[in-house]
């Protein structure tokens, strides 16, 4: 923080406004269906990662089972739409609520667990959810999946095109980041960071550790559920293979790459790591062979990123960007008022 927070805040607002305008204008300027589809998936991951960032990045509660909440959201939405004919918006709401309940069910018994114990418990939860998706054939369609999920629609307005889906997803990305950003900027966000740094210290400040942990688990799970619902209606078909341990780990990698205590960093991590296997969408003229290679080595990229970030830049991209900004500022003859 500089000596003039008003100025820093203004330049941040300008940056955010520029990103929002660019994202909103994109389909009207350059409407490439493949690009928009990839960017929609990027947006879906940003929503999950926003929630995971609160839970894992800020509160320090590791979850290796977030794919489960994503899956619970997707199946809730898909099943209600396909088998019960619920309207889209009701499916979304139900997905969020059911995922939140899932978060509550996982959070309450695992409250006492920390670090690797919590990691293993959430991993087991994720695996059990996966088995449930596969085995509850009557509801989920089992390993063959659930198809025929209708596109999002509001009354007579059906959002089928890549453009409309893209705008819908990124509208929700905006909402999710706004809500999460407000949380981390204010009292509850400080409580999360305090919890991460020292539970005893947090308790000594009057923070109800149990309640805070349950709350952040629930918020995090509901964001994953929201993303799952969007995903289900976008692709029209879901199967258990979309909700595996691998995804849970990739989500953690996105938060780690972006920076543990930074929402914007986590979002950036999600963007980067979701784009890597689909790089041809944003880099025109990339050879199919190169894309194939990237996809083949995707897991290696994730693994190496996890290790390298932890070894050499524990603060992730966010801290790196901070350092870079500091370096640039030092290099430039600073205007007197920017000196803190």
């Amino acid at each position: 923080m500089g000596a003039r927070p008003g100025r820093a805040q203004r330049s941040r607002l300008v940056l955010i406004a520029a990103i929002v305008i660019a994202l909103a204008a994109l389909p009207f300027v350059y409407s490439d269906a493949y690009l928009l589809k990839v960017l929609s998936f990027v947006g879906i991951n940003v929503i999950i990662v926003a929630g995971l960032s609160l839970l894992f990045g800020y509160a320090g509660q590791v979850s290796l089972g977030h794919a489960a909440f994503y899956g619970i959201g997707a199946y809730t939405s898909g099943v209600l739409a396909v088998r019960f004919g619920w309207p889209w918006i009701a499916c979304v709401a139900a997905a969020v609520v059911v995922s939140a309940i899932g978060g509550l069910i996982l959070a309450v018994p695992t409250l006492r667990l920390k670090g690797h114990y919590l990691a293993m418990a959430t991993l087991a939860f994720g695996q059990i959810a996966y088995v449930a998706f596969v085995e509850a054939k009557g509801i989920t369609g089992g390993i063959d999946g659930l198809s025929g999920i209708p596109s999002p629609s509001l009354g007579p307005l059906e959002l089928r095109s890549a453009e409309s889906n893209y705008l819908l997803v990124w509208f929700f990305v905006g909402v999710a980041l706004l809500l999460a950003g407000n949380i981390v900027a204010l009292r509850p966000g400080r409580a999360l960071r305090a919890l991460h740094a020292s539970e005893a210290g947090a308790q000594a400040c009057g923070i109800d550790v149990v309640r805070t942990k349950v709350q952040v688990f629930v918020v995090s799970a509901s964001l994953a559920g929201l993303a799952g619902s969007l995903f289900a209606h976008l692709v029209g078909f879901i199967s258990p293979s979309s909700f595996t341990l691998v995804l849970s780990i990739e989500l953690v990698a996105m938060v780690v790459l972006g920076g543990m205590g930074s929402l914007a960093g986590a979002a950036l991590g999600a963007v980067v790591l979701t784009l890597i296997p689909n790089l041809d969408a944003v880099v025109p003229g990339m050879s199919p062979r190169a894309v194939e290679l990237l996809q083949d080595w995707n897991a290696d990229i994730f693994g190496v990123i996890l290790i390298v970030v932890m070894l050499f830049m524990p603060g992730g991209l966010a801290a790196g960007a901070g350092r870079l900004a500091g370096w640039v500022r030092r290099r430039r003859p600073a205007p007197s008022e920017a000196e803190a």
Partner: protein, 299 residues
């Protein structure tokens, strides 16, 4: 197996044999978790990959390089042990004191890299290994024991005895136990704790590899068998009580029996859920394990 099938005496015996067989493998993987935990207070999420490497490298040395089976097995264990030592040296040691979250992330990263390496190097298919001794199963009161199962039991027993001797009779073992009790105190006593941790990773890798290669003749192996075995091994380790080698063995055997008997009496549909449910139940109800009197970590 139907839900309401009658279970006869010999069938029961068969389930127990299967449980003891799987349980021995779980015990070997669980020992890996527990040895690393004892010296670092960290969970190595890449432990399952050592198990996978054990089978995959043995297959490679046998069919790829034409080594005889016994040599291929031995070289595989040595190779994977070296991988474990190297993993600690490169990725763990620089950040060893950075706290559990960091080590969780690093070992998960390691797990992904190891798995991918195996896929790139050995291919995506399932790979078999011949049984160590050919011949028909042995009849044991109406139940059949495969010869490979005897190998599994024998090699597990050898590993456990060797480990016990290491821990109780050697200077290195005493240093490892001192680290287990209190790493800071051990360091003050002049024990090279870095070396102890590195050796722990090597031992854990070697034990995991042994488990992987000795079971491959029965199950085949593939690049992606690591994580699920990792979860089972961890479930066994925590069922016993983390950080105590004998408890890890007891936990492995218990989990194997529990799994096999519930398949027998219930249904095989939820075979993989048993270990997960055990894991969750132990974590939630009794995180210090069933066979360990170690006190819970204080806040």
């Amino acid at each position: 197996m139907g839900v309401d099938a009658e279970v006869t005496g010999s069938e029961l015996l068969q389930f127990i044999i299967a449980g003891l067989k799987n349980g021995s493998i779980y015990a070997l993987v669980a020992l890996g978790f527990t040895i690393v935990y004892a010296s670092t207070k960290a969970i190595n999420f890449a432990q399952g990959e050592f198990y996978m490497f054990g089978g995959m490298f043995a297959v490679f040395f046998l069919s790829g390089l034409g080594m005889p089976l016994a040599l291929a097995a031995l070289v595989s264990v040595i190779t994977v042990t070296a991988v474990g030592l190297g993993f600690d040296r490169v990725a763990i040691r620089p950040r060893r004191d950075a706290g559990p979250l960091t080590l969780i992330i690093i070992t998960i990263g390691g797990s992904m890299v190891f798995q991918s390496f195996a896929r790139h190097a050995f291919g995506p298919d399932e790979r078999p290994l011949p049984v160590f001794t050919a011949g028909p199963s042995i009849d044991f009161f109406g139940a059949a024991i495969e010869r490979q199962t005897l190998w599994i039991w024998a090699l597990t027993a050898v590993a456990v005895v060797a480990l016990t001797i290491l821990y109780t009779r050697t200077k290195l073992g005493r240093a490892m136990r001192a680290c287990m009790e209190n790493r800071e105190a051990a360091r003050l006593m002049g024990i090279d704790t870095n070396r102890v941790v590195t050796i722990s990773f090597g031992l854990a890798a070697g034990l995991g590899a042994l488990g992987g290669l000795v079971v491959t003749p029965l199950t085949q192996t593939a690049f992606n068998v690591g994580p699920s075995m990792g979860v089972k091994g961890f479930a066994a380790a925590i069922l016993g009580g983390l950080g105590n080698p004998l408890a890890a063995v007891a936990g492995g055997i218990t989990l194997g029996l529990l799994e096999s008997l519930s398949i027998g009496f219930l249904s095989s549909t939820y075979k993989d859920v048993i270990a997960l449910a055990v894991l969750l139940a132990v974590l939630v109800l009794r995180p210090e394990g069933l066979f360990s009197r170690a006190s819970r970590e204080k806040m």
